[in-house]
């Protein structure tokens, strides 16, 4: 036997190969009988040559040019011929039943409407606390917190690098006390909280602070529900930063967070595989889902390697998608991903727990699709994106505000976003019927094609050695940069139409100026003063002890989160913990392409 063959045999099978082997092909029961299909085919040929205009016949397939689209060509009319081998029970089935194409719950929104989870975060914790309570008072059913630039990048508000940026673009959080102010009077045992902690390193610091805050309020961790993001793609690819730790260490921390959270906070979603920010940064409807899937597969492999039951871990993972402008594609994509994820969990991981087979997702309408000209048009764009997500069966949603090409949303704009979701829920009746697009010749064909393309890209990543390797090699950085630059050109060349921007642009409109958000003043001084007091009152020897234990845990390769928790309890700050990570793991230089 040749050396080459031996190596190939030793190589791990790709997910595609496993599915090809395990998904039963025998005994399929096609929905449409061959006789009917043959008749339709003949009639269609006849119709095409007699009724359809030659021009349309010659241009039967058109590839839509839309923001962040998939480039999948579309026929002019779809018929059963496009779903010729559809086996209803195997491919679609019933809601709440395998393969979950139609929905993860039998009654979907009749049982529980999608969670209205509007993002909030600006200024100091006391400022964002007011916005959270405003949203909850007006019917939001979940909370989602976005952090300011220094918190996202993991520096304290009093770090010289944070100067002039505290409370910008999100809320400033340095320590457990800030978490306490942020959630004051928010019933954490009743409201689900999403901490948009983005990165694994960030999550390892902020989530323990959240937990310690809950403990100080006397709330048992078993009562807490919500999610963190905790995604290496965000930390190492999507983010621009002065300092990064290496992807391999970042992946390890991602898994540490998953492990710690699963063991200690049973109601918490331990990772949100985040397609959203990657897609917004510049990638297609397909790559967004393929990358998240590949990351999810690699993370679960690692969890299994650490000795955990995949059913136990996977029931608490979630996904996060960016619905953009191609309406049916967005609905079909969520369905496709649900079926693909089910197959992966069932056949690659042998999962049995139904909850572990579900692709549960949060969506946020696309920020990059919002334009500055005639900003109220953005309300319409976001509403269509939201509606498509509901038709796809998303579990929770944020609708972007019309003023986001100007600044952080005003209260007025945030209210319109909230109301958009409530209008979908209460006025349109779309939530009464589960998977209303199921069975559409078009949507089913699109669902099949998207599923196939996602799996193809997952395979490409696996053949590179997996997601972490693809990141280390710069493959993803390059792909994203290329896509962003090409999309920009398509907008410039008018291939992608944006109403009011490059298409039907009005030069003579005299629109009133919209209100634009103004950041609260004095946040940096307040945060710095709070930190000064904190550093004075806390037991600094205890802090140092906790930090040095954290450093040793990083070096030993242990799960670091319990040590982060101890540091949080001792009132260590975010910047202090990140400093430990940088020292222990060293810095990494991400590749840059343009």
């Amino acid at each position: 036997m040749s050396q080459k063959k031996t190596t190939k045999e030793m190589m791990k099978k790709t997910t595609k190969e496993i599915l090809a082997q395990k998904v039963e092909k025998e005994g399929r029961i096609p929905l449409y009988n061959p006789e009917a299909l043959q008749k339709i085919r003949e009639e269609m040929e006849q119709w095409k040559s007699t009724v359809v205009r030659e021009e349309d016949r010659n241009n039967w397939y058109v590839t839509p040019s839309t923001i962040l689209g998939s480039q999948i060509p579309r026929g002019m009319l779809y018929t059963p011929l496009d779903n010729a081998d559809l086996d209803y029970l195997r491919d679609l089935g019933f809601s709440g039943k395998e393969p979950y194409t139609r929905a993860i719950h039998a009654n979907l929104y009749r049982g529980r409407r999608f969670t209205i989870r509007q993002l909030a975060g600006f200024g100091g914790p006391e400022d964002t606390n007011k916005r959270i309570r405003f949203l909850l008072d007006h019917g939001a059913t979940g909370v989602s917190i976005i952090f300011d630039l220094p918190t996202i990048q993991e520096y304290d508000s009093d770090d010289p690098m944070s100067k002039g940026q505290v409370g910008m673009c999100g809320v400033a959080i340095d320590c457990v006390d800030d978490m306490a102010t942020l959630f004051e009077e928010v019933p954490l045992d009743k409201v689900t909280v999403s901490l948009v902690s983005h990165y694994p390193t960030n999550t390892a610091i902020l989530f323990p602070m959240y937990l310690e805050m809950a403990s100080r309020r006397g709330i048992d961790w078993s009562k807490l529900t919500g999610s963190v993001q905790n995604d290496l793609i965000l930390e190492c690819v999507v983010r621009s930063a002065p300092e990064y730790i290496p992807p391999r260490d970042c992946f390890k921390i991602q898994c540490d967070n998953m492990e710690f959270t699963r063991k200690n906070v049973p109601g918490w979603n331990l990772v949100t595989f985040n397609g959203y920010n990657l897609r917004e940064n510049g990638t297609s409807a397909i790559t967004e889902m393929a990358v998240a899937t590949a990351n999810a597969i690699e993370s679960l492999d690692e969890m299994v390697r650490r000795g955990h039951d995949v059913d136990w871990v996977a029931e608490r993972i979630a996904f996060f998608w960016s619905p953009s402008n191609d309406f049916f594609e967005e609905a079909a994509r969520i369905r496709a991903m649900r079926r693909l994820w089910y197959q992966i969990m069932k056949h690659r991981f042998d999962a049995k727990n139904p909850r572990a087979l579900w692709m549960r997702c949060h969506v946020q309408t696309s920020g990059i699709s919002l334009f500055r000209e005639e900003p109220y048009n953005n309300i319409v764009r976001a509403a269509y994106q939201g509606l498509a997500s509901v038709l796809g069966g998303a579990q929770s949603m944020h609708i972007d505000s019309y003023d986001e090409a100007y600044s952080v949303p005003t209260e007025e704009a945030a209210l319109v976003s909230l109301r958009t979701q409530q209008i979908i829920q209460a006025e349109t009746a779309v939530t009464e019927v589960v998977d209303p697009l199921g069975g559409s010749f078009y949507v089913e064909a699109l669902t099949d094609e998207i599923e196939k393309r996602i799996l193809d890209e997952v395979t490409e990543i696996e053949e590179m050695g997996g997601m972490v390797s693809a990141v280390e090699k710069g493959w993803l950085h390059k792909k994203v940069a290329k896509y962003a630059i090409e999309e920009q050109k398509s907008i410039e060349e008018g291939k992608i139409n944006i109403v009011g921007h490059n298409y039907l642009r009005a030069s003579d409109l005299d629109l009133p100026e919209i209100n634009v958000f103004r950041y609260p003043e004095g946040v940096e001084e307040r945060q710095k003063e709070n930190l000064r007091k904190l550093r004075q009152k806390r037991d600094s020897r205890r802090v140092e002890g906790c930090l040095s234990q954290l450093r040793e845990a990083c070096q030993r390769g242990e799960n670091i989160v319990p040590y982060c928790l101890e540091a949080a309890k001792a009132d260590a700050t975010e910047g202090e913990m990140f400093q430990v990570f940088k020292e222990a793991f060293g810095l990494w230089k991400p590749p840059v392409y343009w």
């Binding site: 690098m161 940026q165 002065p242």
Partner: protein, 153 residues
Amino acid sequence: METTCILVESWGWLTMTGAEKKIKVLLAKLGLEVHWRGVITVAGMLRDAGMEVIYVGNAFPEQIVKAAIQEDVDVVGISTLGGNHLTQGGELLDIAARSGIKDSTLFLIGGVFPPYDEPRLREIGFDGIFAPGATRGEIVGFIKEAMATRATT
């Protein structure tokens, strides 16, 4: 088109070299700002327009000015979507003025900022301000025109 690969050192940079007398542009993400799509897209536009582009990644005002002096650039372009355009943008222009490069260098800013801040950005000393939706023609045209004006005055 072939994408050019440049490995950016943590606080350093590599330069795209080319024909002589190219307009030389330094691009940076301002401070801790996180989004890189816009600046990379602009880097591509300027390269396509025949300019020499140096992208330093995230950098703080002092580092940006230091790099601009070392590289002897014609244009400094900074990108931010995160709300630090006045605070750190102001600091950048102050340091540039103190270092004596403010008048000899074109300072541009691009990103997301409220319209009411635009006059203030001009007061601070930015020569060009580009909000979302700014086109290739506007950005490249602005730089070329400004450089031509400088050459004749």
